[in-house]
Amino acid sequence: MSAWLDKAVQNVIDGNGIVISIAAMLIVFTALTLLSLFIAALPRFLKIVARVLPEEHPAGPPPVDERIVAAIGCVLRRRKYGSSDGHSS
């Protein structure tokens, strides 16, 4: 048992397992931290860019389908005036 354990531990040491793991984890964190910092800075950078090159279609809510607006309006009107509103106006 002890010999097997020694061999297993030696295999980890020979394969540089701990060094590789720590270094690789640090690199993954570094890359994703850089990415995170870039994402955090991007809106500020784009604000400056927008002063020179305004966005053609500024960000906002997606275009609303006119049919949906009409349907919502119809439902609200029916709630307010009853279902026979077609003749009331």
Binding site: K7, G17, S21, A24, I27, F29, A31, L32, F38, L42
Partner: protein
């Protein structure tokens, strides 16, 4: 009579071993899980049927299996064994991924890094069990919970272990809803699971267009070995976000990814021939893969708790579990576990951020392992 006997010797029945029968049974179980339980049906069904096909015993002299050079299956498997299919899958994933939630809350990117701890602890575990460093790296990547990445790295570092690693990776991806919730509940308090997060802000089109280019440059310059995976991922995303290549984006996220998934799933399944697959090492790979996946989940959750010590707007630590890159399954699991505590707590969008960051993180991890352990 001699001709008849000779013919009988060439039938699959004559060459069938117990191992082949077991693998055919496993294939049937995969198909059943896909159809009855809906566990990753798009993958488990092709893999399951591939396993049945791959375990029909070969006839001497006629190349029919994936390992017989020149056979049709060998050509199909070429895309797997040479790491061609995974980047194409990444192209499709990029074309269907919306990075908006990640862009609206960049802190969550770090959870995608934390969950990669499973990969590297499992690498140590695999070395401990006697695998070579290259094999250990390929086994560890199962913890990234990303099938294509696992196949890509295994094809580069340990081609002889590819089928076991691929099956383990996809099996655990399918079992995300079973494996993750107990770990998430174990590591969080009820109060933590009830935390509501601020709704994500609106992300501009310019941000969404610049992101794939800049993110690729940052990641690829840090780890050049990851360019084939990350290049295709971000290229696919640029096709989607640019708004001028809708046809290409649409093909990438539908016809192309579906075609590659069929070929990949089927040929990986066909590579599970009993004599290569049913080995002691394959069992070790499955055990290590499970450990890797559990550690990755725990790593994400614990790191979210650690971040909460420093953050004013607290994170719900459950979202850390989505740092493993099983997209979108682990994000869905986060939503399910959170809604079990509070039916009105919508965490899905928040969980998608570490989820897609996990895809990037595991591809970077694969690149690091490939560049360090190759040769």
């Amino acid at each position: 009579m001699d001709i008849l006997l000779e013919f009988l010797n060439t039938t699959g029945f004559a060459g069938m071993t117990i191992g082949n029968a077991v693998m055919i049974l496993i294939g049937i179980v995969f198909i059943t899980l896909a159809i009855v339980k809906h566990y990753e049906p798009l993958l488990l069904l092709p893999i399951g049927f591939g396993a049945i096909v791959g375990n029909i015993p070969s006839i001497g002299g006629i190349p029919i299996g994936v390992y017989d050079e020149g056979s049709v299956l060998w050509y199909l498997y070429f895309g797997v064994s040479h790491g061609i299919f995974p980047p194409l899958i990444f192209l499709g994933i990029g074309a269907m991924t919306d990075f908006s939630t990640m862009l609206s809350n960049p802190k969550l990117v770090l959870l995608g890094a934390a969950a990669q701890v499973g990969i590297f602890l499992t690498l140590i575990g695999a070395l401990f069990l006697g695998f070579t460093p290259a094999e250990a790296g390929a086994i560890g990547i199962i913890g990234g919970a990303d099938g294509p990445t696992s196949i890509f790295l295994a094809s580069k570092l340990a081609p002889e272990r590819l089928s076991a690693i691929a099956i383990a990776a996809y099996s655990y991806m399918a079992l995300v809803p079973v494996i993750q919730p107990p770990i998430m509940r174990l590591l969080t308090t009820e109060k933590e699971r009830l935390i509501r997060m601020k709704p994500p802000r609106t992300v501009s089109k310019r941000e969404r267009i610049i992101f794939p280019i800049a993110a690729f440059l940052i990641a690829a310059l840090t780890v050049p070995a990851a360019i084939s995976l990350l290049g295709m991922l971000f290229f696919g995303n640029l096709l989607k976000e640019s708004g001028v290549t809708e046809r290409l984006a649409n093909t990438s996220r539908t016809a192309l990814i579906d075609t590659v998934t069929v070929l990949l799933g089927f040929s990986v399944g066909a590579a599970t021939q009993a004599q290569y697959f049913l080995t002691r090492e394959a069992l070790c790979i499955f055990s290590l893969g499970a450990a890797s996946f559990c550690i990755a989940t725990a790593g994400g959750v614990l790191f979210a708790k650690l971040m909460n010590l420093f953050l004013k707007d607290k994170l719900n630590p459950l979202v850390g579990a989505a740092g493993v890159s099983a997209v979108p399954d682990s994000a869905r699991v986060v939503q399910t576990v959170a809604q079990h505590e509070d039916p009105n707590n919508a965490l899905l969008m928040h969980a998608m951020a570490p989820n897609v960051a996990g895809v990037i993180g595991s591809a970077i991890a694969a690149g690091i392992l490939w560049s360090v352990l190759v040769g």
